[in-house]
Symmetry: C2
Subunit: 330 residues, 2 copies
């Protein structure tokens, strides 16, 4: 996997041969983005299932899965991928060690490949919501190829708009504190020659007020059954401002990121990350020693601020409790 | 003056003996904050008025004032201080060189001393708006002692709350891109042992939603006659979110920052600053080379989102066109 902590200045590929390495990579954000975390976790499970079979395989799975599950609490794709790998294990645990490993590896690769296909369908569904040409999209964080197995969710919609033959440009919030916008979204779009303008998070209100933004599109780490959307910190204020300025606010959500076990956003655990993300930058101290820090990694946008939720199965509109359930059963 | 670019890790005092040095200091943000810029400009004018008298003094003044005026367009205190120094010059331009310089120097020192007195009165007026004890205030950027001759405007209210015998703590937005919150507000409050918690700008919405914030207090670089408030980029979204969550939004505005010549916020010029504020951090590149940057230094908060404007002459409530005019004439 590409080490996302070093982008955009260095492109370093890291290889892991051990599930603990994958867990560390997720925890330290070598890899991030809910779908990418899910795929990485599946790969981590496969790595962890070498050389076991039968009852020991199930015990090993529990150890591996709990190590991976403990890395980051908010993205539901992680749990989703572990559950899927568990089901696969249940089907093949009686096979010999080599066969069992191959089945687990193949399942992880299937999750990887399906993720790209899902993003393409999602992108195509989302592109149909955007009539403007040229279109200008405002996004937050990175819900792009880097956050997925490839193509991206929110940026998948942007790619699909272009593939439909339209012109599209993007305003990218820099997304403090990890700078996924300025470092990752800008890098990814610039590579594909999609025009991108980076702004500080606190400038999005001015950009929305100035006009010219056709829609806001963001990803999600976990969406509740009622359409409440947990996503990178700063998403909620963006939704409030989009509503104030009459700009549609879209969430690109693969079905794997919708957690039907969470009735509302209040049920979604919000990860608090290290104070050093705010006290230091590139090793340099930027706050006085000894001050307090509050560093929630995500916030929850109430479904009533979300104009539409775009999935690979179609687009859901309010009331989401009903429409998301219909997409699930349909 | 203390070099605010180096805080909080280094406390370096810079001395200037030439108005051009002062102009550079304002432009490069060695010193920033609307009232502090006004005081610095007055001092810069005084430095520039050495060794001149009569008509040459007036010509010199025009050169010095235009150099200083061109440094930063949004803060009206700069123009206000230059106008005041001009009036002083008109009274004393026929004096000999030494006397003229002393009068100009004394006027600059008077502006400095008055600024502190104004902030104390403003702080006392503002503290009366905050009943809670302990009180928790959310602020943006730095409207503190560092932004003024001393004591501060928004943070002057915080100081006055404490001087009234109450407990007070502060949430400080880090304030991208220049980090006035994490570097300056946190430094200033921490030094005075006022508890401060630093958050990224995009976390303020979560803090406001979580409850426990008694009010938002910010400064202003220029407030229009109708109460529209130009202040550091990110103030406007904060006002929108405070309104959404029922939290009072106060602006600490010395009379010198109210521009009665601007009917509305649309008349206030908004400075665009260098892209490097967003593309680099501490010399390190954080965006890919070649992406576009939009970097407005200020935004305008409509007066209808402002709960009260606190001045040294009293507190104004909507409708501001009437109440601010009353404070001016009263």
């Amino acid at each position: 996997m590409i080490d996302q902590r070093l982008l955009p200045t260095r492109e370093v590929i890291r290889q892991y041969r051990d599930y603990r390495g994958v867990a560390d990579a997720i925890r330290t954000m070598v890899i991030r983005g809910a779908p990418a975390i899910g795929v990485a976790a599946a790969m981590g499970v496969a790595l962890g299932m070498r050389g076991v079979s039968g009852a020991p395989a199930k015990a090993r799975f529990d150890l591996v899965a709990e190590t991976l599950r403990a890395t980051r609490p908010t993205a539901v794709n992680l749990a989703w991928a572990l559950d899927r790998m568990r089901r696969r294990l249940d089907e093949c645990s009686s096979l010999d060690e080599a066969k069992l490993f191959r089945r687990m590896r193949d399942e992880a690769i299937a999750i990887y490949n399906e993720d790209i296909a899902i993003n393409r369908r999602l992108g195509s569904n989302g592109a149909q919501l955007v009539d403007a040409n040229p279109a200008t999209v405002l996004t937050h964080c990175n819900a792009g190829a880097l956050a997925t197995a490839g193509y991206g969710t929110a940026l998948g919609v942007v790619r699909a708009i272009r593939e439909a033959g339209k012109k599209v440009s993007v305003f990218a919030d820099e997304t403090r504190p990890f700078l996924q916008g300025s470092r990752l979204t800008a890098w990814e779009l610039h590579k594909e020659r999609i025009p991108v303008t980076v702004i500080a998070d606190n400038m999005a209100a001015t950009v929305l007020r100035n006009g010219g933004i056709d829609c806001v599109i963001v990803g999600t780490d976990r969406t509740a059954a009622n359409g409440d959307v947990a996503n990178k910190i700063g998403t909620y204020p963006l939704a409030v401002l989009a509503r104030r300025h009459g700009v549609p606010f879209y969430v690109a959500a693969p079905m794997s990121s919708i957690d039907f076990k969470c009735a509302t956003g209040a049920d979604i655990p919000i990860e608090q990350r290290s104070p050093t993300e705010l006290t230091q930058f590139a090793g340099k101290q930027i706050t006085p020693e000894g001050v307090s820090i509050f560093n929630p990694a995500f916030d929850v946008t109430p479904g009533d601020l979300v104009s539409a939720i775009i999935t690979e199965r179609g687009v859901a509109y309010p009331p989401y409790k009903k429409t998301l359930a219909a997409l699930k059963s349909g």
